[in-house]
Amino acid sequence: MSFVTVEDVFQSYGQRPIIERVNLSVDEGEFISIVGASGCGKSTFLRLLLAQERPTRGQVTIADAPPAKEPGLDRGVVFQRYSVFPHLTVRENVVAGESFRRPWGRFFGQERKEAQARADETLVRCGLNHVADNYPATLSGGMQQRLAIGQALAARPRILLLDEPFGALDPGTRLSMHDFLTELRAEIGMTIFMVTHDLEEAFKLGDRVLVFDKTRWDPHDQDRYGATITYDFDARNGGIPFQTLEEETHVLQAH
C-alpha cells in the first residue's frame, strides 16, 4: 500500500522544464534519500512534496488525501538554514511546533504548562535541555539542526522533508547528527525524504536512494529537457541488496 504517491509529475519555470515524468511510490516508514548533481531538480522535487509549489502536471498525494495546495500540518520540513525562529528561545521553538495551529499561535494557562513540559521532553531527546532558555543564535550549527528536527516532529507531521539538513555542518557534527537521526527514526518510524549532496550519507541513512538526472540532452540548448528519477537503489544493508532472506529456503534446516 503506497503512502506517498507521485504520479507523472512535471514542473517547469516559465518555458524551462526542471523535472519531468516523475513517478514514485513510497511506503509508510521508508527513508528516501534523494541525490543528484546541482540544478537537477531535487530541491524542486522536495518543494513539490512540501506543496510549496504545485506541479505543472501530475499530482502528489499523501495517504490518499487530495493533493495539497499549500504547505500544511501533514508535512514537516527542515531546511539547511533558517529552520528555527531566531526570536524564540529553544523551548519556545519546540512549543511553537504545537501552538502555531491555534488562533493566536500560542497556548495559555494550564495548556501552556503542559506544552512546555512536553517540549522539555523533546529537548531531552534532542540533547538540548541544557540550553532551553537560550536563543538559537547562541547554538552551534548541529544543535540548531537538532532543534529544527525536534520542532518539526513536535507538530506530528505525516512525512518529514529534509533539504540538505547537514550540508552546513562539519564532518564530526554530521556523523553525530546521523546517529541522532537514526535513533530518532528507530523510535518514531516516520516517513522521511532527505535531499543531500553526500552520497555516503544518502546510502548510510536511506532505505532507498533516488538519483535525479537528465535522460535527454540537447547539446544546443542545455535547458531543453528536465530531470527525472534515473536510479532507485535499495540502500538497506549498506546498499547491498538481497541480504535478508524473505522466503523459506529449507536448505538450512537440520532434517
Partner: protein, 270 residues
C-alpha cells in the same frame, strides 16, 4: 604597522571621542573672543559664559508676565507633538509594512502607491494642512506623520519581505494561519527594525516639527527659536539648539536601550 590595524587604547579612545566636541567649543570660544574684542556689543557670537548664564536663567526663571517657566512649557509642547506624531507613524507604518510585506495582493495594491506618495515633499503640503486642519496641534502632528510615514512603511515592508522564505514555509508546516504568521513570525522579527527605523525618522520628525512651529504656533521649541531670532538673541537660540540636540540624542539612546533590552536575539546590527 598598517593604519587599519592600529586600534586606540582605552584612554586614547576617550580623548579621541571628546576631541571634536572640544575643538568645536574652542573654535567658537576663539571666534566669540575675537568678535567681542572688536565690538563688545556684538550679538552674533555671545561668549560661552553668557550663553551659560542665559541657559540658567531660561530653565529657572519664570516669564515676567505669566510666571511660567517657558523653557519647560516649550519642551513639553514640542515633545508631545513629536511623541504623538511618531507614535502614529510607527503604528500605521507597522500595520501597512506587515500587510505589504506578507500579502502579495496588498503589495500589488499599495507598494507603488506608497512609493509615489513618498516622493511628495511634506513641507509643500504644510499650507494645505494649515488650511484643512487649522493652526492648532492637529496640523503639526499630521505634518510629522506625513513626513515620516512613507519612509516607515517602505522600510518596514522591505524588512518583512526580507524575513527568510524558509521561516514562512516552516510556520505553515506547523499549521500557522496568515494571522498567526503575521503576529508570531513577522511582527516580532520586524519590531527591532521598527525601533531602528523610528530612530532614523527622528531627524526628519524634528525638522517637520520645528518647521511647523516656526510658521504657526504660540508655544514650542521651534516657535521660541524663530521668535527670538527677531531680537538676534543668539544666546537663547544657542541654548535651545543645544537643548534640542541633547533631547534628540537622549531619545535615540533610550530607543537603542529599549531595543537591546527587549530584542536580545537581534543583537547584531543594532
Amino acid at each position: 604597522m598598517r593604519l587599519i590595524n592600529i586600534k586606540p587604547s582605552r584612554p586614547l579612545a576617550v580623548v579621541l571621542t571628546l576631541l571634536p566636541f572640544a575643538l568645536v567649543f574652542l573654535a567658537y570660544a576663539i571666534g566669540s573672543e575675537v568678535r567681542l574684542a572688536a565690538n563688545p556689543q556684538d550679538k552674533l557670537l555671545p561668549a560661552p559664559g553668557k550663553v551659560f548664564d542665559t541657559a540658567i536663567r531660561l530653565i529657572s526663571e519664570g516669564d515676567r508676565r505669566t510666571g511660567r517657566i517657558l523653557f519647560w512649557h516649550d519642551t513639553w509642547a514640542s515633545l508631545k507633538r513629536l511623541g504623538i506624531g511618531i507614535s502614529i507613524s510607527a503604528f500605521v507604518g507597522l500595520l501597512f509594512g506587515l500587510l505589504i510585506g506578507l500579502l502579495p495582493v496588498a503589495r500589488r495594491l499599495l507598494a507603488q502607491f506608497v512609493a509615489v506618495l513618498s516622493m511628495i515633499p511634506p513641507l509643500a503640503l504644510l499650507p494645505i494642512l494649515f488650511i484643512v486642519f487649522g493652526l492648532g496641534e492637529l496640523s503639526k502632528v499630521v505634518l510629522i506623520v506625513i513626513g515620516t510615514l512613507p519612509f516607515l512603511i517602505r522600510d518596514l515592508s522591505q524588512r518583512v519581505l526580507e524575513v527568510p522564505e524558509e521561516l514562512l514555509v516552516k510556520a505553515q508546516t506547523l499549521g500557522a494561519s496568515s494571522w498567526v504568521i503575521a503576529i508570531r513570525v513577522a511582527l516580532p522579527q520586524v519590531m527591532p527594525r521598527l525601533i531602528q527605523s523610528v530612530r532614523l525618522s527622528l531627524g526628519p520628525a524634528w525638522l517637520f516639527l520645528i518647521a511647523a512651529e516656526a510658521i504657526a504656533s504660540d508655544l514650542g521649541l521651534g516657535y521660541r527659536i524663530f521668535l527670538v531670532r527677531r531680537y538676534l538673541a543668539m544666546d537663547v537660540i544657542l541654548t535651545y539648539v543645544i537643548w534640542i540636540t541633547i533631547l534628540a540624542f537622549l531619545i535615540d539612546w533610550a530607543l537603542r536601550r529599549i531595543s537591546r533590552r527587549f530584542f536580545p536575539w537581534a543583537e547584531e546590527g543594532l
